[in-house]
Amino acid sequence: MTYALGRVASAAGVLLAAFTVAFLLLQALPGDAVMIRFENPELGLSAEQIASVRESYGADVGLLAQYWHSLSGFLGGDLGFSVASGAPVRTLLGSAIPSTLLLAGLGFVVAALLAAALAFGAILSPSGWLANVLRSLPSLFVSVPVFWLGIVLIQIFSFRLGLISVIRPGPLEALILPVLTLAVPISAPMAQVLVRAIDDVQAQPFITVVRSKGAGEAWILLRNVLRNAALPALTIAGVLLGELIGGAVVTETVFARFGVGRLTADALDAQDIPVLQGIVVLAALAFVVVNLLVDLVAPLIDPRLKRRVHA
């Protein structure tokens, strides 16, 4: 229990620091988004009107006061307002997240299946040649630019083979290529960690004992190796999440899907700091929560960790 509380406290600390970093990084910006938008002479705003707009965005007070205001807003779920559109950042994120979550969730599932197929294929393959090819595929997958992969997939499946319509595809059809694009690079680190973990476990004496008792390779893999290899695979979950978010941003751009990626690109073009800040802090929150869950679940999977925690 103390362990869990400690983990939660340190996660909250990281999150607060991430918020501070995002705040400092983005407030240090030389340009002033409020001025960029409202200083335009065509709007015909007087100096007093601009001042009142600045006041409504909270841009007229000192840095520390802005920090405090922004932090208390975040804690209450108020992410501020978009400078470009005036809409609440919370609404913007709320409308963009479901689509990105669907893409990222499906991408993760497909990546896990792909990684498991690669790892098991490499371990169980009867021919050394095939095993080597399967083992080297992940290093190829991590070297492929996500955006390029998406374009090549469009080229092959939409233009060459005509299997997937580019113009107004159905909702399910529209998901196939983006999910595949996202899944391939994510599957690579998963497969690498899985293969390495399986190798490590298989070299241990207890596997030899099980084997000498007459168990088949597939039996050993499923019953003994997989359980012991699960933990190393779990520890990279947080890293994969970051990959997934970055990959989703790029994939959405390539496939012109609406989502957090589009929101990020638009915010960047308009120097819309509140929106970008909201996205960054939200991503950090997701990372911290996922890592916290991994830390809390790991002792349940591996009892040895529990003993170390209590000691």
């Binding site: 990084l25 910006l29 070297s143 630019p145 680190p189």
Partner: protein, 295 residues
Amino acid sequence: MTLELQRTALLPADGAAPQAPAPRRRRRRGPRVTVLLAVAVLVLVVAWAVLPQLFTSHDPLAGVPADALQGPSAAHWFGTDPTGRDLFSRVVHGARYSLTGGVVAVAVGLVAGTAIGVIAGSIGTIVDEILMRVVDVLLSIPGLLLSLSVIILLGFGTTNAAIAVGVTSVAAFARLSRSEVVRVRRSDYVEAAFGSGGRWGSVLLRHVLPNSLTPVLALAALQFGTAILAISTLGFLGYGAPPPTPEWGLLISEGRSHLATSWWLTTLPGVVVVLVVLSANRLSGAISQARTARS
């Protein structure tokens, strides 16, 4: 968008994992050949960056409108783009942007990260604690979002994109160099150096840093590959070099408008990116493998 790489690739170095002997013997020949190939690819691309005119006689910026949108041929290896510019020439000239970008990014990560790691590792105590929490925070923000935040701060452009990519690798360099410093500090010969009257600074320079060089080098090679990948991504998104520049990500982005008719415009520059990144990763793997074999 890079962090899983250095973690997984550097795992064997600190784990000293027992490995089944059979596959290692079988694969002994394989890696040699692929490492040589990787070095060859990297040398060729460096040559492209330094002396592009040796490899192509076509102008990367001025096109021949009559030759527009031709497929790959003997005259135009990678075909031509809508304004009749030779794509191979553009890729060759573009190597400069990707490679310098990769070097700048690695330099930023290496210098800042190693400084943080060495300070944290050698001073320890509360300084170590604080610096490592800062590194945790850097790791908690997805690489691409961190890069974009830095870019909104610095503005668009090749160098700014490279710096933004470098910032994402600071955390990895800091963690690695810290753990190396801590490891080397505990070894007998460093104790001996202190015991024989060595000063803190000189022991750090003469013993600790040289002995933690190889894993840092392996990480640098790996980061170089990922940086090229990330820089091309930023170029593709339009935050890197401005349009007439033949930067690789931008080339792929520009080719998108002719996807249905001219496959070579997007496919071939991408293949080059994949080969370069793959080679850098392979080299990094070879460096850390050589280290585990020695120890």
